[in-house]
């Protein structure tokens, strides 16, 4: 019996909690992609860089606060800096919309033009970020490392395996839950949120109803910048901030959005967790878990891994392809906001 609990603790520590954390980060990212897709009607390739930009601003403010000796122990200072990062990113995103996307909107450019434009924006933003903060790893995490460390857990329970909950993991999961609840409340219960859904559902009828498209576009970018900054900062806190990593995050984020059903915010969240857990489940080394669950004395030579961790990225790619072939509308029937 104790072996089963040990195995569960092991899985919880290395699979469930990291999966929930990573899934929350992907879900927040995919929500941003979905919002742009369903309101502005294009796939925003610059979303990864928007996340990096938001995280970068938050890091700069965090350093400033740390230099001033401001802290909110045991929580990371970055949470205090987050609102500033969000405001800066909103301003920057609106500037880009005004100077780049607005022109193409006026010309009623096709979605593919927008997509290519967004790739341009991605490169410019990427360059800007590396120019400002450099291409290297930045560590900006402070505060308590663990809520429950593996050692405490072992001492408390007497188990062999520890189930640690890192501060960043708890912060990520809780923040994601709060943000998602707020976002859905906004979309479903406020006049502005409903007008966004109406615009995404039927642009012409929204115009006829007196909904101002410029306002809808502006609010969409504000939400997208907010989500991106939060997702980027949480990812950076949890792993580390490295500009190039955010570009690679684009694939799992798009996979999440598509798996869930493009344009459907609930789908984006579900998709985030599906992708995160698939990556972890397929690349997890089950050796110790199996040892706990089998009678003593059985020697297991291999790591009992389905795929090497190098294939992590490939997993989201494969899921993406399978979904597109088998169920192109995604898990949830792709619909508007």
């Amino acid at each position: 019996m104790i072996d089963v609990i040990n195995a569960a603790a092991l899985l919880g520590n290395f699979l469930v909690i990291p999966g929930l954390t990573y899934g929350s980060q992907l879900a927040l990212g995919a929500l941003g992609v979905t919002l742009v897709y369903s309101v502005l009607r294009f796939s925003n390739f610059a979303h990864g860089e928007t996340m990096a930009f938001g995280a970068m601003l938050t890091i700069l403010v965090t350093w400033g606060l740390q230099a001033l000796g401001v802290s909110i122990q045991p929580l990371p200072t970055a949470l205090l800096a987050l609102p500033f990062g969000i405001i800066g990113t909103i301003a920057f995103t609106l500037l880009i919309d005004r100077s780049v996307y607005a022109y193409h909107r006026q010309r009623k450019a096709s979605p593919v033009v927008f997509l290519i434009v967004s790739i341009g924006v991605m490169f410019v933003m990427g360059g800007l970020i590396r120019f400002i903060i450099g291409p290297n790893d930045q560590i900006f995490f402070d505060g308590a490392r663990f809520i429950i460390s593996a050692r405490d857990f072992k001492r408390m329970t007497g188990l062999e395996e520890g189930l640690a909950i890192r501060m960043t993991q708890a912060v990520t999961i809780l923040t994601a839950i709060v943000i998602v609840i707020l976002l859905f409340w906004f979309l479903n219960h406020t006049r502005t949120g409903k007008s966004m859904r109406a615009y995404s559902d039927n642009e012409n009828l929204a115009l006829l109803s007196g909904i101002n498209p410029q306002r809808v576009v502006m609010i969409t970018w504000i939400l997208v910048a907010t989500l991106a900054t939060i997702a980027g900062t949480l990812y950076g806190l949890d792993k580390s901030f490295k500009p190039f990593v955010y570009m690679q995050l684009l694939l799992p984020i798009f996979a999440s959005a598509i798996v869930g059903g493009v344009g459907n915010p609930l789908g984006a969240i579900a998709g985030g967790y599906v992708i995160a857990f698939s990556e972890l489940i397929l690349t997890f080394a089950y050796k110790k878990v199996i040892q706990y669950l089998t009678p003593d004395g059985i020697e297991i030579e291999s790591l009992m891994q389905i795929l090497g961790t190098d294939y992590k990225i490939a997993v989201s790619f494969i899921i993406l392809v399978i979904v597109l072939v088998v169920r192109p509308t995604g898990l949830f029937q792709g619909k508007t906001l």
């Binding site: 409903k194 859904r197 109406a198 559902d201 012409n204």
Partner: protein, 234 residues
């Protein structure tokens, strides 16, 4: 002079004109119906009145005011309501949200207006939490009309409101439209079901190739043997 009138409208989407010197008007509390064969420019004439078609000649007067250069959404603010033929509801929004969006330009309390629409279309009250996309064709048309009524328009323009609904539902819709007209709303509609529509119409416009062919009261048009033979199937 009618309350709403498009006078001598000439224009089209591209180089070629679709409407030629076409005049369409309606008064408060009246129902005006535009009928004619396929491709006669019925919907185009209605769109021209609503500002969705650039006019080369002619003008649109609404309550004595020249609105020819106003955009459709500006005409909504002036008190014109428009129900497009297709895509006329927000399918992913609930019935009630559709009505709320119809009243988007209003800042005042809209609960009375919603109650009024529910009085007119009781089935919508029952289905108010359902996404409009899940309703039947006739119910959707009711949502579409209800949405347009939320701004309390002085003119309601309907582009083929009975397209694709069963005859029973059509009769019911026409009854409701009569009821709306009784509230002193001017109603201008395009109809495929010419005979039934002319029966409830105060005024009828028969268009052929973008031109006014016959203009008379609904009753007179129904009695006109030439109209009957050519456009009403005998």
């Amino acid at each position: 002079m009618s309350f709403l009138i498009g006078q001598q409208m000439t224009g089209g989407y591209g180089a070629a004109d679709i409407l030629h010197d076409c005049t369409i008007g309606v008064d408060k509390g009246e129902i005006a119906v535009i009928v004619g064969p396929n491709g006669a420019g019925k919907s185009t004439a209605m769109k021209a009145v609503f500002g969705m078609l650039p006019l080369r000649h002619g003008q649109v007067l609404f309550d004595g005011e020249d609105v020819t250069l106003l955009k459709p959404e500006e005409r909504v603010l002036k008190g014109m309501g428009f129900v497009p033929q297709t895509h006329n509801v927000f399918i992913s929004l609930s019935v009630e949200e559709n009505l709320e969006m119809g009243a988007f330009i209003r800042q005042d309390d809209i609960r009375d207006s919603i109650a009024q629409v529910y009085d007119l279309f009781p089935i919508l009250k029952e289905k108010r939490k359902q996404p409009a996309g899940q309703l039947s064709g006739g119910q959707r048309q009711q949502v579409a009309v209800g949405r347009a009524l939320m701004t309390h328009p002085k003119v309601l323009m309907l582009d083929e409101p009975t397209a694709g609904v069963s005859p029973i539902v059509m009769d019911e819709l026409f009854d409701r439209i009569l009821e709306i007209a009784r509230l002193d709303v001017a109603i201008l509609m395009v109809e495929q079901n010419a005979k039934q529509a002319l029966e409830i119409a105060d005024k009828g416009y028969v268009l052929v190739q973008g031109r006014n062919r016959f203009t008379d009261s609904g009753e007179a048009l129904l009695a006109n043997s030439e109209v009957r033979r050519a456009f009403l199937g005998g």
